[in-house]
Symmetry: C2
Subunit: 215 residues, 2 copies
């Protein structure tokens, strides 16, 4: 979680994270950390435009001036939150996939598990795009960056499973993931993710044979 130590305001920070404590959702000392944490949650559950700076300050208990000391404005906060979300989500996906066996299809198990959660609200980046006014702005760039990373992960998983056309399959998988995500947001629950998993399974089956990789 070194992503939090990146400073875009000044370089005068001493050491923001205690050396040994990896437990996130702690360290309430730092105003910047509290802001990022609170904003990530509020933006996700209520929408970016719906959450004003006012409310964020009230929830996090951070002073108004402290906010503008750490971020040039709300736009920069949104940027930082999305970068943070990207890193957190990617880490979560990798570990959850590993917990489900590590195969390509495990991404849908992870998605189903996530969609069962009470406060599931779809993909933060899709939602951010949906409420962004400018289709050529920073948010779309970040969303594409995010999906690119996920696609790379899918590609790696599928290749490791021995499928030669892993690139094409990764493209199909991410379409299925996004479809399952928005469907799950709408109808709540893991059914859509399981549906997507079933489709992905057939895509793998009808693809070139997995053909034992060497040794």
């Amino acid at each position: 979680m070194d992503l939090d130590s990146c400073q875009l305001t000044d370089g005068t920070d001493r050491f923001r994270l205690a050396p040994a404590s990896i437990t996130l959702s702690r360290m309430p000392t730092d105003a910047r950390e509290r802001l990022l944490q609170g904003a990530e949650e509020l933006f996700y559950t209520e929408g970016i435009r719906a959450v004003g700076v006012e409310r964020l300050l009230a929830v996090t208990g951070v002073g108004r001036a402290s906010f503008y000391r750490h971020f040039a404005g709300k736009d920069e906060l949104v940027h930082a939150v999305l970068k943070r979300r990207d890193a957190h989500w990617h880490a979560w996906l990798e570990e959850t996939v590993a917990a489900h066996g590590g195969g390509p299809l495990a991404v849908f198990d992870a998605l189903a598990e996530s969609a069962e959660s009470e406060n599931f609200r779809g993909c933060a980046f899709i939602n951010a795009m949906a409420e962004a006014s400018d289709p050529y702005g920073e948010i779309f760039r970040l969303a594409n960056e995010h999906k690119g990373k996920v696609k790379d992960l899918l590609d790696r998983l599928i290749e490791e499973a021995g499928y030669p056309d892993h690139r094409a399959l990764a493209e199909q998988f991410i379409l299925l993931m996004d479809g399952a995500t928005v469907t799950a947001m709408r109808e709540r629950g893991g059914a859509a993710a399981r549906q997507a998993r079933a489709i992905a399974e057939r895509l793998l089956a009808s693809s070139a044979p997995p053909a034992r990789l060497s040794a």
Copy 2:
């Protein structure tokens, strides 16, 4: 296009649409019609929260009082716009599917054609959900209603094509459609829709045989 004549405010309207003129994007006489038309476009291209009443009035040239004479508030306008969008989009899909041969796969041709458009911004209902704060509110209800109708259309198309398991296929198709829609919003162009079409094609192929329907 009789959907515009439905009145939820009062029943005192004489005849709002000239009897013979079917040409929409005209009839600037009616303030209500102009508001709905302008709001549908603005909400779609910039987001619902991003468009204030102020700007809508400026764009449509409608007076402030006239707005509140026709709608109880912005929420009611949003509701009316989404209902209108639902009807328009459904009609567009049906006719575009017919123009592409009328088969189940034609929905993806329609989607690709739509996604090629410059001002394509994904699905208005998915976007509306994404910026809605309350997952149990009216917008989610309308989105589910909308997707339900589309699912019914898909079901009909697939059944007419002779597939016995049309119900399950329709569920899979709408997941593919939504996945292609959000992907197309992100990366622009019809590639995602064609990708989804290819997947759908394989789902149909590996399904029970189409088996000539009687006669």
